[in-house]
């Protein structure tokens, strides 16, 4: 759940609409309830989409968060 929390906080800083999609199901990155319903586990394939004035920046930042595994490397994986 902590990665979801971090995503929501990051998404809140952008004006654009940010969505994550998993297996056809779409979640609003601003809503933790919405993100949790994706049931995404480590290794799940997700599609990130952003639309709006700062979409490019949002994609860049959020992709970086995923790349860095939400700074949870070496930390016990706890949701």
């Amino acid at each position: 759940m902590r990665p979801a929390d971090k995503l929501v906080r990051a998404a809140a800083g952008f004006q654009c609409q940010i969505e994550l999609e998993r297996a056809g199901q779409i979640a609003d990155c601003r809503s933790i309830l919405s993100l949790l319903t994706l049931g995404a586990t480590q290794g799940s394939e997700l599609v990130l989409r952003a639309q709006g004035p700062d979409a490019d920046e949002a994609i860049r930042v959020i992709r970086l968060m995923f790349d860095q595994q939400f700074d949870e490397v070496n930390v016990e994986q706890s949701t």
């Binding site: 309830l33 949790l36 049931g39 949701t79």
Partner: protein, 158 residues
């Protein structure tokens, strides 16, 4: 993952009386002990672990809902309970609102997938305003139990 798989019916708390975060976690864990789902000897350690997780960021996910949880080696399968606080309490939730609906989960360290599937189900049901309203209105264990059964039957949510 359906509620019936991981919610201990006997541990459901229809009227939580605690007024603090640690208090409500203690009350919910105690109900799992009383129901025979976890051992009394593990109670203090489980409460400590849940509080430690809360320090990393509140599991109060907004809309009056909190999902305190931890992994603990003493359980062999995912076990959880539901509690309703009629008055609500400060759980340092993400949206700053008081929390009144609680889903507490304890999972075995080697089964992270189960834990996520339970969270997925809880969040999906909680997105339904009717489910939240009915849960808040529940006065007895039977009310809550029946509501969870109906939710399992897809009466609510998508």
């Amino acid at each position: 993952m359906k509620f019936s798989v991981f919610i201990s019916r006997k541990a459901i708390c229809a009227e939580l009386t605690a007024t603090t975060k640690e208090g409500v976690i203690t009350e919910l864990v105690q109900s799992l002990v009383s129901a025979g789902d976890i051992k009394d000897a593990d109670k203090a350690d489980i409460i400590k672990a849940i509080m430690k997780r809360e320090e990393l960021g509140s599991t109060g996910i907004g809309r009056g809902v909190a999902v305190p949880h931890t992994k603990h080696a003493s359980v062999e399968k995912l076990i959880g309970t539901v509690g309703v606080s009629p008055a609500g309490l400060d759980f340092e939730s993400l949206d700053g609102q008081v929390a009144s609906l609680f889903f507490l989960l304890v999972s075995p360290p080697d089964r992270p997938g189960d834990h996520l599937r339970a969270l997925e189900n809880i969040s999906r049901q909680l997105r339904d305003d009717m489910f939240c309203r009915l849960l808040r209105q529940s006065k007895t264990i039977e009310d809550i139990s029946q509501l969870l059964e109906e939710a399992d039957g897809n009466s609510f949510g998508s």
